[in-house]
Symmetry: C2
Subunit: 320 residues, 2 copies
């Protein structure tokens, strides 16, 4: 099979999924994004509460990444956030579009499909679960934090580590997500916020079994920067060991770790938000039989400290 | 020139423009809708106030009528009105789309163009003016009513006739509307609410001059039913004579009047809203040198008392 025809599944949420899909889109024809349904903040949180629907924000970002439309305005429009209006300020246009389509079709997955048609999305976006559940976290001091946003933007002391996270009530894997994983040639997890974008996918009942059962290679992209309140002081091994503890053994085939440190000048912009460079401490990673951590320069040459699309694409072509 | 290539301009607002455009779309390639900017009610009114923008509602309806998209969901989506959500309930999705595009482009006409691209609109929709103005009415008892919605949905005694309407402040004709009128082969006014959808277009400074100057034939479709508070007890001659008083002499070439009365059973549905059949009283119409009123059966065979699309198309092909 030509590489371009291989089936690739990306699991995550937030901007990480966007980055990976954008990197893969020019090279691969068969892309599926499986996105977390734990988001409960901002525009998405309001729609979730007022419409009793699943959160549209991560769906929207993935659809935009997959859009093949020449109409640049369409992507701008989907990402546009209203600044004015008593009832509109803060809402993202694409979220409202998915909400309206959900109400018209009365089917969340069909609403995503219709939004994809409008954007001419090449690839599928699949909610990890169709069940509504809240993400909870227990901190090392015993505190319980309720809701993805409260974990993500901590009111609590951000230096206290997260002990564990779970979903309440339990949520079951979306059959379409399961099917995509079982049929995939490669499953990519991350990059993304560990506890709030990645692990919520792994908490869904049936996900670990599907990842154990699939013949696909499973690869994890560690983050470039830590996040205060979530992965404070984490090195690459902390990311990997934590993910492994939720994934179960023998699932992960590769971890792809950035080894290029940004200049002090670029890092200076992150001091305020207490984010630090993730050190590639290979020696601390727990190794399994089939698991191989690899390091490479994955850094975007300038600007924000982000993964470079072309470097991600190269790394993925290497392991496919 | 083949009839299909003739340039047709439709002037109005509300559902009347939608009906005429829908009738013309299969037969003519060169359609322009010039729509009133006086609407200040509902979703449009809120957006107008909160975003300081021109009203999107009539634009939206005309764009949907011109859409050539196979995607039926797209028209449903544009027309969808949110039922839930503290800030969203009552807003029409298409209005929010035009609002977001307006903010992104910072240009109302470009926003309309971009919305048209998404809908694959065949034809143009042009706001009659780019100036913001309010519609005011003086009733026969001297009362002044401010705002299109207050005139349209009267809190005042609906039996008291409207003496005159005007815009405050004055608004100037959009140059693109002027251009379309001057280049047209046929200009159609109405059907539509006389004081709130049609005359607000004629009040715009430069409109009468453009209609006097154009070589296009100018035709007016009278309404099928009266509207309580606006055209209470009006017969066809009242519609035509009133319109003429705002148009000036020698502008109108034809008035096209329905002569088919719906069954008492169909009319029974209109008793509650105090709407009555408009009698085709040809004898009371003031005639000018070049003006000819004609009557025909324009009634939709069943259902709501509306103009029939095919009959409108036939009438227009006759006078072209």
């Amino acid at each position: 099979m030509k590489q371009a025809n291989k089936k690739i599944v990306v699991i995550g949420g937030g901007t990480g999924v966007f980055t990976v899909l954008t990197a893969l889109k020019p090279h691969f024809k068969n892309l599926t994004a499986i996105v977390t349904m734990a988001d409960d903040g901002g525009s998405t949180g309001i729609l979730r509460e007022e419409f009793g629907m699943l959160p549209p924000g991560d769906i929207r970002r993935a659809l935009i990444a997959l859009s093949a439309s020449d109409n640049k305005m369409l992507a701008n429009l989907f990402s546009y956030r209203f600044q004015e209006g008593v009832g509109l300020a803060g809402h993202t246009f694409g979220n409202l579009l998915i909400t309206a389509l959900h109400r018209i079709t009365d089917d969340f997955e069909q609403a995503i499909e219709e939004a994809g048609k409008i954007l001419l999305a090449e690839g599928k976006v699949v909610p990890v679960t169709l069940d509504r559940a809240q993400l909870l976290a227990e901190l090392e001091d015993g505190q319980i934090i309720k809701g993805e946003t409260n974990i993500d933007i901590p009111n609590h002391d951000g230096r206290i580590k997260i002990k564990r996270v779970w979903l309440k009530p339990e949520a079951a894997l979306n059959p379409n997500a399961r099917k995509a994983i079982l049929e995939a040639d490669l499953v990519i997890i991350g990059p993304g916020d560990l506890y709030t974008s990645l692990i919520p996918n792994l908490l869904v009942k049936g996900m670990r079994e599907a990842l154990q059962k699939t013949k696909a290679k499973v690869a994890y992209f560690t983050n470039l920067m830590t996040k205060f309140g979530e992965t404070n002081n984490f090195s690459a091994s902390d990311f990997i060991n934590t993910l492994q503890s939720y994934l179960g053994k023998e699932v992960l085939d590769f971890a792809i770790i950035n080894n290029r440190k940004p200049s002090p000048r670029r890092l200076a912009g992150y001091i305020k938000e207490r984010a630090e460079f993730v050190e590639p401490d290979l020696g601390n990673i727990r190794l399994n039989k089939n698991f191989m951590p690899v390091t490479a320069d994955l850094l975007r040459p300038k600007g924000f400290v982000r993964h470079d699309s072309e470097k991600i694409a190269k790394a993925i072509r290497m392991i496919l």
